[in-house]
Point group: C2
Chain length 335, copies 2
DNA sequence: TTGAAAGCGTTACCAA
DNA sequence: TTGGTAACGCTTTCAA
């Protein structure tokens, strides 16, 4: 299927009665061209609706780096804040950031594949169950499994969870539940258990609830906890989205926050400041995360030697570059 | 400055002892190659850390379309929802979506310029005061001034504002203020005035407050309205972000929502469902907006004839393609 | 099954 | 001030 012929620099050159290099000079504001000639070329270009072929430009100039951002959904505020920071960090390096956010639809893999062909590297996380082949450097972020990707930005949740729980204890709470994400106890949840044990606080399985990582999941989790009829004066949530869902669930049940039940989240999302009362949280600096991710991309990209993709070879994972970001407690004064 | 020599297909060919076309065949899973040869080529490519040059690929295959999304900040949930929908719509067409979100910093123009070179078209809005030249098709969204761009997606706020106000009146409200955005009465505000007049409701300048379009702006606006000591039982906000800010401002002043003062927003953002009580709003389908925007881009892109950029020529604006999306009232039951 | 040659549209370098 | 020639790295005919 022969591509429809587009107007090229040669068409402009012909119409303007000059050579193509002269067209280049005229259109790129380069020195060494007579104003009259330039005007003539510009006019011809405009008349023809000429637009330079970016691929050809990139080829000859050295194509700039393009990073793909792989996220489940930009409607999740965590990812949109991350995208915002990555966009800035990428722009600062002269890199482009392409959105690879095609959600969990059935056509996901089909939509994803072409996008992956456009990027020099990938940042984010492959949706669970995606059957696409990644053959570019891949930096994961806060990836618990660490079975995929060539490098990772870790977040020190050990510190984060302890900061959150210390805050709850310091403010007089004793019966602290945890709303966890997924089907198995997450690493954060294990830290939670350790902390309770070390602090001499009561723990039971009834204090934990595991739900889908969404607002509605948080709402449901709160209801579940209340239904259990256990003593409960505080809730630690796996992240802010769940925490805000929990706040809604508690409010619906008539519980006052934080007087009856305190809620603490993790992430430090902007949206935590919009709800009432404002959400106390363990904030991770997503600017730092973005910067660390792009540094890792840079490293992988310049590392042209040997096997850039250990995980693809089936051999034992080689050194996996890693940067770690440490969250800090963010207490938001409500009203 | 000679670019550092990267490993090309020829290096692989040399190492594998084949010609470069054979390398292409091996690496692109094309038929007509002996398995043994393929393995040898693949091994050589991996050993060299070979990665195909995308620009060269694009050049020869016909580069796919890349659209730039120009937004003030992805941290504004309106834009992140828009970005999400545009990303999907673009992926469905096999297009890429590049983020051009560099905010309002002082280096903005410097960061923006390189990004604009990578796109075939632009969707969104140029930040006020940006001094960059756009020389690709540009589709604006809900742009009041309509002085920039080659095509636009309009939103019928006339319908939206009337729907919102009708709802307030139907639910028994009479003293309806408006939190407007900007420094001059917006088009939405003019509809508000008309509606009040037609409905025989009292209007005064005291009922209007104009603030910066942000959450804090909304908080401040609520405080301002309350300070005026006017009768007030409902507030119409220019958009959801302002509305949610207003909710917080009202809550801080001890007003109950919606019993003391009802609040209604416009946009239908997801975040409206997270706050308590949930925000009633006039929702615009951002999937439709995104689809309309890309259709317009498609139109502009295929319109290779004549002057594709009327606004740049200084001549009278020619036909400006336009699609309009109509919002609908979204009443969210508050749990 | 493999290889040689011909572009793809642009910019860079050097000579006129 | 201009134009010719040579890359840029890849894919796609067409022959061998």
């Amino acid at each position: 299927m022969p591509r429809p012929r587009t107007t090229t620099i040669l068409d402009v050159a012909r119409d303007a009665g000059v050579s193509r290099q002269t067209v280049t000079r005229a259109l790129n504001d380069m020195p060494g061209i007579a104003p009259a000639t330039r005007d003539r070329v510009v006019a011809a270009a405009r008349a023809l609706g000429y637009r330079p072929n970016r691929a050809a430009q990139s080829l000859v100039k050295g194509s700039g780096t393009t990073v793909g951002l792989l996220v489940e959904s930009l409607r999740n505020p965590y990812f949109s804040e991350l995208a915002s920071e990555l966009g800035r960090a990428a722009a600062a390096r002269g890199w482009g950031l392409i959105l690879c956010d095609v959600g969990y639809g059935s056509e996901r893999d089909a939509l994803l594949a072409p996008l992956l062909r456009r990027v020099d590297a990938l940042v984010g996380d492959l949706p669970a169950g995606a059957a696409v082949e990644v053959d570019v450097p891949f930096v994961t972020i806060d990836n618990a499994e660490e079975t995929v990707g060539d490098a990772t930005v870790g977040i020190d949740h050990e510190v984060g969870v302890r900061a959150a729980l210390s805050h709850l204890v310091a403010t007089g709470h004793r019966d602290i539940a945890m709303i966890d994400s997924g089907t198995e106890p997450s690493p954060r949840c294990l830290v939670y258990r350790s902390f309770l044990a070390e602090a001499g606080l009561a723990w039971s399985e009834q204090l934990e609830v595991r739900v889908e990582e969404s607002h509605d999941g948080g709402v449901a989790a709160a209801a579940t906890l209340l239904d259990r009829g256990i003593a409960l004066d505080a809730v630690l949530a796996f992240n802010d989205v769940l925490a805000i869902g929990a706040m809604k669930g508690l409010a619906r049940a008539g519980r006052r926050i934080p007087d009856d039940v305190a809620v603490i989240g993790m992430d430090g999302l902007d949206v935590g400041a919009l709800v009432t009362p404002e959400l106390t949280t363990v904030a991770t600096d997503r600017g730092d995360v973005a910067e660390a991710a792009l540094e890792l991309v840079d490293t992988l990209l310049s590392d042209r030697s040997g096997d850039g993709h250990p995980q693809a070879t089936g051999s034992a994972p080689a050194h996996r570059p890693r940067r770690t970001v440490t969250p800090r407690l963010l207490v938001r004064a409500s009203g």
